[in-house]
């Protein structure tokens, strides 16, 4: 249920971005699972499995009790401190918090997908514990009067200490009493039992991880001291560079020893590291500042990086080993900054410190290559390293980047920008007067505050104070940064109101930071008050006055401003990347570039989203309901939600071939497939926005691999284009590649270069020759490109569609015949590949042949009877049939494709005549031949339609910004209705108007569909011709074999119309072939009438009308 909902939401968000904008609060709430993880700072692998209301009883410390403490007494009425809260069980953790909130999906249906809980996933506030199950040694069930179930939990440390030194450590035991029905309790206990069994595996990890914790040393040495025994001398664990280079600040002034003593007491009573129990004292001890040597451990615990380390203790060293010696951009950037990270701290003037910094930053850049390295990380890590070991700093950095400061250090730094916006809006809310002043004096607050957030106040405040902010920050989360920032402005409010420009504003704050250690009330009578430092005052203001700023506030504000911030970044990125596309891009208009940019990244983004959703759907099916929950607790969508959006950081920048096809399908009509596989697009009215309908639609579309757009065609031409544009041979295109590609295709109006470009596409080996195969491929491509009609610039606007269509048939047929003529001429003028081989054939010398060519051209023009079809002069008069010898033009047909084939056959047939001159070299597979660019150019220029195609039509077939692409809705319905007759039964008959489709299909589309048929038939013919060439290579006796083979190959359509088409094609083919055969015997003059006669009879049979008639009929009918 839950996963389905989130899926639909996501799908909707993707299909209808506006919908999610309209209701941001409802669908951007974090999931319970992520809240749960944030609440207890657990790794992403953890999910809330069980929860139950419980009372936690902490037995008073051992030393305060008699040693003969009887268990009976405990059972009667457990002594000690009692906390009521919720007990949670995940896969590997048992957590308890008095900040009760429910994280189970089943808890409440109404809020199951959107729920923030009371604590908003703020972090381990409140009292309680987060126990890794592997740290639990024993769980006993006790009898209790007041509760059904009572569990006595013995932890790792309890066990350890007891075995080691008897009484002194005392077994740490906690009692948890479960409040719930027997069934609930038993279910919880079953879950716990299972988890505990699994947990045993983690004990080794736990042992090694715990060894790095200073508390172990602290307690152990304490015990040894008391025992006064010699014992084994323990080495203290690595607690950062501070042990060697001194910790910042004056230890005595910081009362470090006192703090250590207090912590030692606390840790002894309440467990340590893995088994630590949070009680009020814990929070107080953190607020007053951590002692130097314990900082690492408490930071690890409160931030949750401890659990990350526990999960994978070797990740740091393994990462370093794995990538040892490798280079990356991040490493270069890191190297630049190593010498300038906290350079005033002696540790970072030494190789030791620099080395540590280098290793931690490098290791992280490998584990998160998307973030890599961002300036400011060096400062933060340097600060951490003063207190922590390398590996501890590494895990803490992970938690910082991934969870506490989401998006701060990403390549677009959207998190930073977003939080600046949030901060500004909080200032506006809480300090309206100051805000007004800032606006009035044009001081940009974020200019001041950005470094505070980005480097966690570390290079703004003196280090000792920055660390105290960090102490609280790790415990309470990102809101602390905002609270401190607000408090700074509040305290300096008056001075800031006097500042009229950026300069004074900044200097006021600089001065303030420099005097944080001074007394806040130097002139106070009260010595106690005088002793309060400015920093203490800051903390009080931050956490008292701005206590209302909670994690929830931040999350809400983040979602509110997210879109605007992302849009800004995207605009900037777009601007920048378009400008940086290089000189080639100047050939395209800015509008076009913008359009290409949007389309390029749009396709990449959509494809990624789709892959994601399809993947999730698969996961969901596989996992049966345990969908991977998303990380939205921060208010910023996690990596998996909107990945690919440019502003969210590293997004894909390379488009593979599939993506390229999809990309083209949105730009060029010819790139849309004729036979979409997804029939579900049918009948979806893009106007329907009803919630349910909308979401269902979105969902079904999501599941199609092509999303909502038209399904792209697959054609060799697209592949060639792709390879041509793929300048780096990476099998993927960058925006740069695409723009350069378009600049070549569209950017020039020079027909010669267009022709050359096309030629080059087919010149596979780059030797300036295109062979027979290539010629046929070119003609196929020409037909492919034109099968949906050719766009003239004027017809791109929807208003002109009618006109365009009326104009269509003639143009398309003309094109068809032009292509046939093209093939013929190519063969005619082709050069033999190996002149020597041609010796036996009556090949005319090249010169002569060319002469003949010229001659023949003249002949063509002079002899309309034979060559009317492809030729220019007949354009206006619809060509072939006029000149056809057939005495009467048939009036009616339902099969326009008959014409196509007819046309083709006719136009192809004259090529046979040419063989008289070329001695049949062209079609003889034993005689390899090729055309060169000049020949190709000549052939193109010989035909006005092809000439125009290369002059403008081809480049116009890509519709960029200046000529908006047809909406996907209309093109897809067009496809379904007409181009794919098999899918739609009766609608295949183009002359029949489709009831109810008028709204979707623009008038005239019916005709267009017909043309599609014509053209695709034409393509089939071309393909067929080619195929036969191949066959001919093997078979000499072509006559017999051919007819059988063709019929069998194509029997995939059931439609009667299709059958007719096919027959007519075969007729056409036969004509062609007959022509070829007769050629050798008969004279050219004789062959033409023969063919014409054959056609005439055929035309009569199919009763094919003239194109003009046909068009009129259809148009009338449609109206």
């Amino acid at each position: 249920m839950f996963s389905f909902q989130s899926l639909v939401q996501k799908a909707q968000q993707f299909i209808e971005p506006t919908l999610s904008v309209a209701s941001p609060s409802s669908d951007r709430r974090p999931t319970k699972a992520s809240l749960f993880r944030h609440q207890f700072r657990l790794p992403d692998s953890q999910n809330p499995l069980q929860e139950i209301t419980a009372e936690l009883t902490l037995s008073p410390h051992h030393s305060t009790r008699g040693s003969g403490d009887s268990p009976e007494k405990e059972r009667e009425r457990p002594q000690g401190i009692h906390y009521v809260g919720k007990l949670h069980l995940s896969e590997q953790y048992l957590c308890f918090s008095t900040q009760a909130s429910s994280f189970l999906n089943s808890a409440s249906l109404s809020t199951s997908s959107a729920f923030t809980g009371q604590t908003h996933g703020a972090g381990p506030g409140g009292n309680g514990f987060t126990l890794p199950l592997c740290a639990i040694r024993r769980v006993e069930r006790l009898h209790s009067q007041s509760y059904m179930f009572a569990l006595a939990i013995t932890t790792w440390h309890g066990f350890d200490n007891k075995s080691k030194s008897g009484e002194i450590g005392g077994p740490q035991k906690l009692t948890v009493q479960l409040a719930g029905s027997r069934q609930q309790c038993e279910r919880f206990c079953d879950g716990l039992k299972k988890g505990l069994r699994e947990g045993v595996k983690g004990t080794d990890n736990l042992r090694s991880v715990v060894n790095d914790c200073y508390s172990e040393y602290l307690i152990a040495t304490d015990i040894e001291n008391k025992d006064a025994g010699p014992g084994e001398q323990r080495d203290p664990p690595d607690t950062g560079l501070g042990t060697v280079f001194r910790y910042p600040g004056n230890a005595r002034k910081l009362r470090d020893a006192t703090k250590i003593r207090l912590w030692r007491e606390y840790l002894k009573e309440n467990g340590r590291n893995a088994t630590l129990i949070r009680q009020p004292t814990f929070h107080k001890l953190i607020r007053v500042g951590l002692p130097n040597r314990l900082r690492s451990e408490i930071w690890e615990l409160t931030s949750g990086s401890f659990f990350l380390r526990l999960q994978n203790p070797k990740l740091y060293t393994e990462t370093l080993a794995k990538y040892s010696g490798q280079q990356s951009l991040a490493i270069d950037e890191i190297e630049k900054d190593l010498n300038r990270s906290l350079p005033e701290y002696p540790g970072f003037q030494s190789e030791e410190g620099i080395g540590r910094l280098r290793r931690v930053l490098t290791a992280y850049s490998w584990t998160n290559e998307e973030v890599g390295y961002c300036q400011a990380m060096n400062i933060v890590v340097a600060a951490l390293l003063i207190y922590m070991s390398e590996s501890q700093a590494f895990y803490l950095l992970s938690v910082l980047c991934d969870r506490l400061l989401p998006g701060y250090y990403s390549t677009t730094m959207y998190g930073t920008l977003l939080d600046q916006r949030v901060f500004e809006s909080l200032v506006e809310k809480t300090m309206p007067i100051l805000w007004d002043h800032l606006v009035k004096s044009d001081v940009q607050l974020s200019v001041v505050s950005l470094p505070w957030f980005l480097s966690l106040y570390i290079n703004s405040m003196p280090l000792i104070f920055a660390f105290r902010v960090l102490d609280v920050f790790f415990l309470e989360g990102p809101k602390v940064l905002f609270q401190i920032g607000l408090a700074i402005l509040r305290i300096n409010g008056e001075d800031l109101l006097d500042a009229a420009d950026d300069g004074t504003f900044i200097s006021v704050l600089k001065t303030y930071f420099a005097r944080l250690d001074e007394s806040a009330h130097p002139r106070s009578e009260n010595p106690k008050l005088r002793a309060v430092t400015r920093f203490q005052e800051l903390m009080v203001v931050a956490f008292k006055e701005f206590a209302g700023i909670t994690q929830n506030t931040i999350s809400e504000q983040r979602s509110k401003h997210k879109d605007a911030v992302l849009e800004n970044i995207e605009n900037f990125a777009k601007r920048t990347s378009i400008r940086n596309l290089g000189p080639e891009s100047k050939k395209l208009s800015l509008n076009d570039l913008g359009f290409l940019y949007d389309r390029f990244y749009g396709v990449l983004y959509e494809r990624q989203q789709r892959a994601e959703i399809i993947q999730q759907e698969a996961d969901r099916k596989a996992k049966a309901g345990k969908a991977k929950a998303t990380e939205i607790v921060t208010g910023i969508p996690g990596n998996d939600v909107e990945m690919g959006r440019v502003a969210l950081g590293p997004s894909p920048t390379q488009m593979d071939y599939e993506g390229f096809r999809e990309f083209l399908a949105g730009l060029a009509r010819w790139a849309v497939t004729d036979s979409p596989t997804s029939t579900q697009l049918n009948g979806h009215d893009s106007q329907s926005h009803s919630y349910f309908g909308g979401s269902m639609r979105s969902r079904s579309i999501q599941m199609s691999p092509w999303g909502s757009g038209p399904e792209p065609a697959e054609h060799e031409f697209m592949n060639r284009l792709f390879r041509r544009w793929d300048t780096n041979m990476h099998s993927s295109l960058s925006l740069q590649d695409v723009v350069t590609g378009f600049a070549q295709v569209k950017g020039t109006k020079d027909i010669m270069s267009n022709i050359a470009y096309f030629f080059d596409l087919y010149d596979d080996d780059g030797d300036g020759k295109v062979d027979r195969e290539g010629i046929l491929r070119i003609s196929e491509a020409l037909l492919f490109l034109s099968r949906r009609g050719i766009d003239s610039p004027a017809t791109s606007s929807p208003a002109m569609q009618d006109l365009h269509v009326t104009d269509g048939p003639s143009r398309n047929e003309q094109f068809l015949s032009s292509v046939s003529a093209f093939i013929r001429r190519c063969f005619e003028y082709a050069d033999p590949d190996h002149p020597v081989n041609q010796a036996g054939n009556p090949v005319e010398p090249q010169e002569k042949r060319e002469e003949k060519g010229e001659e023949k051209k003249d002949e063509e023009l002079a002899d309309p009877d034979a060559f009317s079809i492809g030729d220019d002069d007949d354009d206006e008069d619809l060509l072939d049939l006029k000149d056809s010898p057939a005495p009467s033009t048939p009036k009616l047909t339902s099969n326009p494709s008959a014409q196509a084939s007819q046309t083709l056959s006719k136009s192809l047939s004259p090529s046979s005549r040419a063989e008289k001159h070329a001695a049949n070299v062209a079609l003889d597979p034993n005689n390899p031949l090729h055309i060169t660019l000049p020949t190709f150019r000549m052939v193109i220029l010989a035909d006005e339609i092809l000439e125009q195609f290369f002059e403008s039509d081809f480049s116009n077939s890509f519709r960029l910004a200046d000529a908006p692409a047809p909406s996907s809705a209309s093109s897809s319905s067009n496809l379904n209705t007409f181009a794919n007759p098999t899918g739609r039964g009766s609608t295949a008959k183009p002359a029949i108007p489709i009831p109810g489709s008028g709204g979707v299909v623009p008038p005239g589309k019916g005709l267009r569909g017909m043309l599609d048929n014509i053209v695709s038939d034409g393509m089939r013919v071309a393909a067929e011709v080619k195929r036969r060439m191949d066959e001919a290579q093997k078979e000499l006796d072509r006559e017999a074999a051919r007819h059988g083979g063709v019929g069998g190959d194509e029997d995939d359509e059931d439609d009667q119309e299709a059958e007719k088409e096919r027959r007519s094609i075969r007729e056409g083919d036969r004509d062609l072939l007959e022509g070829m055969e007769t050629e050798d015997v008969e004279s050219g003059k004789a062959s033409a009438p023969t063919i014409s006669n054959a056609q005439a009879s055929q035309t009569e049979k199919t009763r094919s009308p003239s194109p003009t008639r046909d068009r009129e009929d259809v148009v009338e009918f449609e109206r």
Binding site: E333, K336, S341, Q375, V447, I506, F572, A573
Partner: protein, 254 residues
């Protein structure tokens, strides 16, 4: 801002100036040289942006530069609009030993020309001129070997590459100058390390700011326009301005 008023009745106005350019080309060092007449080897990378002020005394008036020194790392680029907003002048810096930094600089110039306030005065600055062994503009640089550059090169800020060639210059003056002329930018080659040309850059910018766009406590003076004023005398005036101890103190106060 009545600070300058004590001595001279010269009109004073403030000019917002932003520094842009690739990481570690020496933006902060240029500012440091100009404001404090100082040079630091290992300076912390700028996070977001740093703000400093410095006065520049022209014969006819005083310009108070409000300098926004921005972070250079690529990903900070999206923050830049925040800083160049309303800027009247920009210093686009590249490193003469790194050709890619000139490309980046060109991107910045394009960005400024399109997005920043119209009439912004842009200066293209090739920094680390001390690493070039030659003083005269040369086109083929890797050819001759001069020992002068090597020792200094090792100490250059954040320039981690070794200079195998004595002359580390990779961007010929002619290339950059040609580009600057094409885009009508001011052009200088500087060295923050030696101080070469640093003050000149700022003086030239001060001179190039159109009178009309100046705002200041004293208002706009009745001076004629400054036209093509880049002669020697202004740079001399400026040198004193740059090294004026009072001015320096003023600048580093914040």
């Amino acid at each position: 801002m009545a600070d300058s008023g004590a001595t001279a009745p010269k009109p004073s106005s403030s000019v917002k100036l932003v520094l842009l350019g690739e990481a570690a080309v020496g933006k902060s060092s240029l500012v440091m040289r100009f404001v404090n007449n100082d040079f630091q080897e290992n300076k912390e990378p700028t996070i977001g942006a740093a703000f400093l002020t410095q006065k520049c005394n022209l014969p006819t008036r005083t310009i108070k530069f409000e300098i926004w020194d921005t972070a250079g790392q690529e990903r900070f680029a999206s923050l830049a609009p925040m800083y160049y907003r309303n800027a009247q002048a920009a210093l686009v810096v590249y490193d003469i030993t790194k050709p890619t930094s000139l490309t980046k600089a060109q991107h910045w110039v394009a960005e400024l020309q399109r997005q920043a306030s119209p009439g912004i005065v842009i200066a293209l600055v090739g920094n680390k001129a001390d690493l070039a062994s030659d003083d005269s503009p040369v086109t083929n640089d890797e050819s001759d070997a001069d020992a002068a550059g090597t020792t200094e090169g090792d100490e250059e800020v954040a320039e981690s590459e070794e200079n195998e060639n004595a002359n580390a210059r990779k961007v010929p003056t002619k290339t950059a100058k040609g580009y600057a002329d094409e885009e009508s930018l001011l052009f200088f080659e500087t060295s923050a390390k030696t101080g070469q040309n640093v003050a000149e850059v700022f003086t030239a910018i001060a001179n190039a700011i159109p009178e009309t766009s100046l705002k200041g406590p004293r208002g706009v003076g009745g001076n004629t326009n400054l036209g093509g004023s880049r002669p020697e005398d202004t740079s001399r005036v400026n040198l004193t301005g740059g090294q004026d101890p009072a001015g320096a103190k003023e600048g580093c106060a914040c």
